[in-house]
């Protein structure tokens, strides 16, 4: 009798250790948990950011080729625009048709009476011809417009000064940083994706173990002998859940490190994204995600336990990877103002907190604590559901 109880680790620890050991020997698990999960999403993120930011920066610095009609009517204006980066192209015949047929992106037409109006101090007109339905031209149009407006307001100020009037009289309102609008909007989209990417690395990290230790165990017919041991099914389930969570956590941790590295590679302030992936981010994100990782682990095990085979479970869980996308899409489409109730919803709460951390906002400790409690409660509820499934005869017997 004493042999049965003396010494030895508790059954949960025994199951945990065995699942971890077995998984560490599986190349597929290692590839997923320690390479693919943590690295795929930061690399994807880096690529996206480089693409977007790089294109914006490139555009801002590159010469802006524009066909100019009637340049001889306003040599000063054209010279000033060229200084700001305009690359003057020869005039084209029938500019309307040229723009419509996309042979020209933008055409600047200066009317013959420009010089006369200019000298008389009347508003002198220039025309911009472009196709606003073409997304890729929009940035260039905005840039040319702001160049012309800049020239116009400088000249206006000089004219007022010449008449002894302070230029500020004519400027009751100042609009600043008008041209930053575009990269920031795009940055927000990327920013909204980042919390999902983090959740995704946790999902990928634990997925194989969740399947292998449930549907895989049934398929290999090792579940029945396992359940004949004098150990409660709750203890077995808990061991499997903790092992899944451990791999999930490892994947998430490596993913965070990778994001940290990516953060250092980012073009910094010039990106205009307002991202801060520093040490503070890593140190906060980890504890914020722990309850969510536990919930994800047991949810994956629950779903995989319904499957009769490894492949079937894989199909279910691949679909389940899309679930955490819902809050991310919601936050992108309907930007949420962080409210108290957000924090209390598993998944959403963590994603809002991560987003706040990325923006460098202070952490709402009470909100994080409430979120952690609710998430742990949800994990316990799913654990109960899974245990009920495991106590039924349906799961125990493979046939």
């Amino acid at each position: 009798m004493s042999a049965h109880r003396a010494g030895g680790a508790g059954p949960t620890a025994v199951v945990f250790a065995k699942e971890c050991r077995e998984s560490l020997r599986d190349r597929r698990v290692l590839l997923n948990a320690l390479v693919l999960g943590p690295l795929l999403t930061p690399l994807l993120f880096l690529l996206l950011i480089q693409l977007v930011v790089g294109r914006e920066l490139e555009k801002a610095e590159q010469p802006l080729p524009v066909a100019v009609i009637g340049a001889q009517h306003a040599p000063n204006l054209v010279a000033a625009l060229r200084q700001m980066g305009l690359e003057q192209r020869p005039p084209v015949d029938d500019p309307e048709a040229a723009v419509r047929e996309q042979r020209q992106d933008i055409v600047l037409r200066i009317a013959p009476q420009f010089a006369e109006d200019w000298r008389a101090g009347r508003p002198a007109q220039v025309e911009l011809l472009y196709d606003s339905s073409r997304q890729e031209v929009r940035g260039e149009v905005e840039r040319l417009q702001s160049m012309i407006e800049g020239y116009s307001s400088r000249t206006g100020a000089l004219r007022l000064l010449a008449r002894g009037i302070a230029p500020s009289v004519a400027q009751p309102v100042i609009v600043a940083s008008r041209d930053l609008a575009t990269p920031e909007a795009r940055g927000a989209v990327l920013l909204g994706m980042l919390p999902y990417f983090l959740v995704l690395s946790a999902l990928i990290g634990g997925m194989w173990l969740a399947i292998d230790s449930t549907a895989g165990e049934r398929e290999r017919q090792s579940l029945e002998p396992l359940l004949v041991n004098p150990v409660g099914r709750g203890q077995i389930l808990l061991g499997k859940m903790l092992a899944t969570a451990a791999f999930s956590m490892a994947s998430l941790f490596l993913g965070l490190l990778a994001f940290y590295a990516v953060g250092r590679l980012l073009p910094g302030d010039e990106s205009g994204l307002g991202l801060t992936i520093g040490l503070r981010f890593v140190l906060w994100a980890l504890p914020v995600m722990v309850p969510l990782v536990l919930l994800i682990a047991i949810a994956q095990i629950w779903v995989a336990s319904y499957a009769r085979s490894f492949r079937e479970a894989q199909t279910y869980l691949s679909l389940a990877q899309l679930v955490p996308l819902i809050p991310s899409i919601m936050m992108m489409v309907v930007p949420l103002r962080p409210a108290a109730w957000n924090a209390a919803i598993p998944l959403l709460g963590q994603q809002v907190t991560i987003l706040g951390l990325l923006r460098g906002e202070p952490v709402d400790a009470a909100g994080v604590a409430i979120g952690a409690l609710v998430t742990l409660g949800a994990a316990a509820a799913v654990f109960g559901l899974t245990l009920r499934l495991y106590r039924s005869e349906r799961v125990a017997i493979y046939s």
Binding site: H4, G7, R25, D26, P225, V228, V231
Partner: protein, 245 residues
């Protein structure tokens, strides 16, 4: 000592087990003999607490399976119908896993494992991952796993399935040795030669019911057939007539 009393189990409309009773005593090999689908596996599954019977009672060394399933499982070494191993673990690690789940401490575990590996003549297999094991090697490992906690009662569901002649002989020697150590050995099989060569007592099951029980000699006598196989066919045939009547 295993006592089974009036077990019933239905799966939907199918009555798999309809009133099975028998006893398997210590120091004896008891064979559950019956055609495929007779209800042997289901009866054993209720016995080792994987399934709950609709009716009836199981006791192992006096412990009731419904009231104290954990105590019952402690006293049983089970080779179930499903005997999958963990392919990425070595044979020894597979055995150790179950030993630890039985609460053996490391010193005892080591001692039991080494003794079992020697006894089953699988010391050269011990350090290999079970991935490429032959059927015989897999069954050996599964049996060692079932015996790691030194159980008083050993239950085996179709233990000779898929074994070649040499492996079957080895298995018989092992089961006899377990019996001679005073353990209660209970096995199910649909192979006549198996029980004839091995069992002290035979329980014949057909259509979810016990149709005959006794020593091989008693069964021969009762059916009036000098050959055990003929006796078996006769008894099962009579039961089939009885069931359809």
């Amino acid at each position: 000592m295993i006592e089974v009393e009036d077990l019933w189990k239905a799966f939907g409309p199918v009555q798999a087990v309809a009133g099975v009773s028998f006893a398997a005593r210590d120091g004896q090999i008891t064979g559950l003999l019956g055609p495929n689908g007779a209800g042997k596996t289901t009866s054993l599954r209720m016995l080792y607490t994987l399934m709950r019977p609709d009716r009836g009672r199981v006791a192992v060394d006096g412990f009731d399976a419904a009231a104290q399933p954990t105590e019952v499982r402690r006293r049983l070494g089970v080779l179930p119908d499903a005997r999958g191993l963990y392919r990425r673990l070595t044979a020894r690690e597979n055995i150790e896993y179950f030993g630890r789940l039985h609460g053996l401490d490391e010193a005892r575990l080591d001692e039991h494992c080494s003794a079992l590996l020697r006894r089953l003549q699988m010391e050269d297999l011990a350090g290999r991952r079970t991935e490429g094991f032959s059927q015989g090697e897999r069954v050996k490992t599964a049996i060692a796993r079932a015996l790691v906690h030194d159980p008083r009662n050993v239950v085996l569901d179709e233990p000779a399935n898929g074994l070649d002649i040499m492996a079957t002989r080895g298995l018989r020697d092992l089961l006899r040795a377990l019996r001679d150590e005073g353990r209660c050995v209970l096995l199910s099989t649909h192979i006549m030669q198996e029980v004839a060569a091995l069992c002290d007592r035979i329980v014949i099951i057909a259509h979810g019911r016990v149709v005959a029980e006794g020593t091989p000699d008693e069964l021969r006598e009762r059916s009036g057939q000098p050959n055990l196989e003929d006796a078996f066919v006769r008894i099962i045939g009579a039961a089939a007539l009885g069931a359809s009547a």
